[in-house]
Symmetry: D2
Subunit: 399 residues, 4 copies
């Protein structure tokens, strides 16, 4: 009935929105021999990378980098800006908005949450209302996850900015761009984002290990008054160093990778990168929509204007376990899919479609998922891949 | 109308039966620092590899290795065995049987050819007849390409052996196993093959650069009387060296790759490797057969008992250019397909399905070909990929 | 007069005690494609590495890992154990003991320092006295840098432990083993160390990016009462995860490197690794001692029982700039030496001799430094390398 | 007494003139995924490399490339130019001139040898005399090994050319540049060389596996009349292919390496590359000359005008075995030295100083050899490394 585990052969299809595929040229670049992080040869690479990172963030303000994962950058944003007892307004998007809120509380901050239906996304009016109600300006910042990796949904930051502006509220706007940056349009300065949190392991196509925050002048001013204890993440201490970032040893290897990542992104052009992500994402959605026909798996996201172009969450039909599909895909066909996070465990699986990706990778993934649905006995309208094929042909004709 | 060239992004799908995909672990192994080829540490690796290569060839007789491509091993077989004016019987299979015959003539040998329909394969009776007619035993050897890469067809070597035995003919049996070894069952000793010609760049999943010949005791006896001039390929000279192979510097890097290749093949088990190839090949054929429904592209091979499990040639409908399909696949979708060789140029394209390959790679390739057929305006019954999906699910259930 | 900058050719000699040379096999292992950090295949590697890391730390207690540099692990130790206003006793060793003390103060802790002469090392009696004077047990922990990278001196931890025991003082013993672990004997459990702070980029021969703390049961008890805010480094949160470490994405690449690092260390045997470091360190010291004859550069460390076997700091003669020597070594000969840190800037240069190192690397480095001393016009007794040669021959005879 | 074998740790010092050190950037470039050798993206790299190779050979005439080692290119030169029974004049230089002569005889050619003392080098007058005596122009070509790797001696090709010109002899001039090209000045067109034989694994710093011949118009004319059988090496067949080289599959990986090799060579500038080789070679000779003082090992070459700048052969004192020194260097210190070839076995060891090399690598090698001399009980004047240090300081001052 079920499929057998096989030795993995061929390259793994990594369709997990966790980290992303790393291009060969980046893998080679990262495999760099050790270099003194104060060596002039490295400093040139370093400065080149920081400048490039600002272009990707679309900011001309500060950027601080950390040896750490995305959560390190989340923490850096919080400890550098706030004081014990400060209040944050978190826009609920899913697992990651919950986690960031939990981190804030662990660090001694108060959190108010704008509740939202995870499948439909927040009602912008609720944000406006919450801000309007805060006449005393207790809210020091609004925290928004630009692209919620757990649900495959976007939170349009311009709407959050508009809500702040409409309320004339001075709170900072903190945006988690971890799974959007370099995959989906993001514009730190133009959109009035005060702190943009990003990591190496998604759209930048690097290994996990480096994260960063773009920081506005307004946020730097808030930093000056912050009283949460901090050292490893302390921006003031960082500014005193040659690198204007990092406390301690600089992770030089990742900079050689970042240099190549920037080259790839800018060779293709950020706009073209976003177009490619949108095209591949739409192919995935066309396929899933077809599958759903026969009481099959469906798109988790119910609001088409919130579809994420970097990850799609797929909701299983009642009574079917997403983990069974994932297990077959991984063990029999060497395809790694994302699982449901937190309360979505077992109910959804996720296809990451961000980073170094092309049509055959997506089509191979979708085809294999269709094989796995058959093997797992999950009802679905077969032919989903044909829908993706038809769409991609049409898109290439237009392209 | 047509698709646009795009910057290649994501990993290329290399579905060309030329060289094959090289697994990452082999790429890393080959990137080995220089080592003295007489260093005891290297000699241990070398001896390990030669022993493993014999297991893959399924021989306990001699193996000679060359720094060279497959054509080098072809030439080595000829110059070590024959004398000017000797006669060979070449079984026609396609482009590569023609090329080997041409090489023999360039080297001063005479060639008789058993003509065959390229789409149906040779009639075994014709081989028997040719040998029976050679009462004087002028034919010194029969040259057979086990797997004709140009047509995607197998020539069952046991039938050739049987023809020799039936005729009581003393000719040597020379087999080109370049695109079969490590992908399709081949048994040098059991099948009475006297010289097996193989290369690094197909089922062994290595870069191009090393080739080899398994050589039977009977062939070694023939070598003793050979008078074609030879030095770089001279087996006698090789036997005098520590390595019992190679004239000049030994390509040490490839041996580190070969060690890893043998580990991969033997970890999976040769029989499982062949089963995997057969399964993926059948998925390709199911897909192509479906496409053919609507006056679409069809399997070039018309004899099901001759289907190759390492490469499939696909014949375009009259009036449609295979090169247009290949160009779209490569330039728009980063999928490299094989083209038609020699007289098949423009008429066929080929999908290599050998080496380090799995289901999603095949499905991604087939899906992309289907997109390319649409874009190139080639008639076909859409849904070929569904046929492959259905078959692979069924095979995994049985698996 | 001075040497000319040249294009770097040949491999750089990295004799900087900053990060260390990364063996090729580790570089290749780190260049691993992305894998889901919850994939069973990765979890097996992960568990294998954590167990190995405990063997290297010589502990059977807890280990927590961080995506971060050594400073991250310093901070993790502090925020997990203490509450605002707690007092630490820092044993002065040099630049890094100062930095750790500064970090503690930044985080809201109080610091008492046992002052020490940087060239002679602390007087153990002073530690005993400080502890004895603390009848109220205000001191919550003693912080000791096992190997001070800035001065090339060891602080014997058994002496610190003995001082605590002699005073019957309940303070925790926190040891920074960043530049000793895997190079110099260290035994967490046997020596009664409560928290051992280590990083990936020294004796483990990995890129910068991962750090860790061994944590004793006694320290875990202290953790339970700690009130400093923490999230990214929170041990309690970590224990709730499958990995029992890390908050957020796990840096999978480094684990493939760590697996290879552990294989290398255990293939050689930790004791042999330490012997090799001691031998190469002694060769460096013999050479420097020779150079010093003619008012030349001398060993910074004046206490032979405190010599570090992983790094040697060399004090320039009055009036000569260490940076000039370093510049020539780097720009003309592609040898990277360490510079003087903090108040030692310009006065010392440092030779790192830890990690993946052998005799010719050390001799090449020393020879080149001797060339650079000539070019920089620094007085010295020439022939230092001969002293190293003589010693290494003698050691090999014994070996 | 003797040293113990140790596990190799640190990078091996490869001071063997066999293949040479491969720079990391070339190793990474060679680890290229498979690409169709007719893919336009590869053809661009291919054409770029062939043009660059001509610049390195300093020729504007033909170049043919082979999947093969240097011996393949030797054979290619012979089978493409000559007919059975043709006569060659081989200038004796050492092991490699003997080997080439032997190959010619194996292929059915006649060989006349200009005998020479291996330690002093050929007398140019003897070449002139042999040519003058050949009034019938039976000699079809003069074969000269530009740099005899076995003895560490150069044969000035301009002298050979001058002898041909003086005699007005029409013979072709064939030069083996395997261990000189890219390390020592060589000018194919300016020096009137008709065929220049080169390989990938020396000055080009690539793995073994590709060789080539520069071919003059005069040689192409001779090719037209050649009757030795040939196919794999056949220039005429090659010219009919898109690549104008290679029979069969093209070793694409090596071209990515060659592209990087050319970048490195041309970034530094060929003249600077030669200067660097000359400088490092002189350091080696200064060291050896010092060692020889006390009845120690001496330079094998007795003619200072014939010193090779890419390899130095060192003659052991009577009664001492070179292999014992090599064994200690390799097993105890991970330094690979070259051994004595052919009749020089046990009498000499060789230091390769070509390719990707710098001062510390040479000094580390020389220092370790001095340690090994001590351990092997070989008499020598200690302090050889000091002589090298003094010279390199002086050279850098001038540099």
């Amino acid at each position: 009935m079920s499929a057998t585990a096989r030795l993995p052969r061929g390259r793994q299809f990594f369709a997990n929105p966790g980290p992303t595929n790393i291009p060969d040229s980046i893998l080679k670049a990262v495999a760099h021999v050790t270099i003194d992080f104060n060596d002039p040869a490295f400093l040139a690479v370093y400065d080149h990378c920081v400048a490039g990172l600002k272009r990707v963030l679309r900011t001309e303000q500060e950027v601080f980098l950390y040896t750490g994962s995305g959560h390190a950058a989340w923490e850096a944003a919080l400890v550098n800006l706030f004081s014990p007892g400060d209040t944050l307004l978190v826009v609920e998007t899913g697992y990651f908005s919950e986690s960031w809120a939990k981190m804030a509380q662990d660090l001694g901050l108060k959190v108010r949450t704008i509740a939202a239906d995870w499948r439909r996304g927040v009602d912008y009016a609720a944000i406006r209302a919450a801000l309007a109600a805060d006449g005393a300006h207790e809210i020091k910042a609004v925290c928004a996850v630009h692209n919620e990796t757990a649900t495959g949904m976007v939170l349009p930051l311009t709407e959050v900015r508009a809500a702040l502006d409409a309320a004339g509220h001075p709170a900072l706007l903190l945006a988690d761009t971890i799974s959007s940056l370099g995959s989906i349009d993001f514009r730190m300065d133009a959109w009035g984002v005060d702190v943009a949190v990003g990591g190496s392991q998604k759209g930048l196509m690097l290994p996990t290990g480096m994260s960063f925050t773009g920081v506005s002048a307004k946020a730097m001013a808030a930093h000056a008054g912050s009283r949460l204890p901090k050292s490893y993440f302390n921006w003031t201490n960082m500014l005193a160093r040659r690198h204007k970032s990092f406390i301690g040893t600089v992770p030089t290897s990742l900079f050689y990778g970042l240099k190549e990542s920037l080259r790839l992104l800018e060779e293709e052009g950020l706009d073209q990168v976003f177009t490619r992500h949108a095209r591949l994402a739409e192919a995935v959605r066309r396929c899933v929509r077809h599958w759903s026909g026969n009481n099959g798996p469906q798109l988790f996201c119910l609001s088409p204007d919130r579809y994420s172009d970097s990850v799609t969450a797929i909701l299983m039909p009642e009574g079917h376990d997403a983990e069974a599909v994932r297990r077959i895909a991984l063990q029999t066909f060497n395809v790694s899919l994302g699982g449901g996070l937190g309360r979505l465990g077992g109910q959804v699986f996720r296809i990451g479609h961000l980073g170094d990706l092309n049509e055959p990778m997506i089509l191979g993934t979708l085809s294999t998922v269709e094989v796995a649905l058959r093997l797992a006995g999950v009802p679905h309208a077969s032919g989903g891949v044909d829908a993706a094929i038809a769409y991609l042909a049409e898109a290439a004709r237009g392209g």
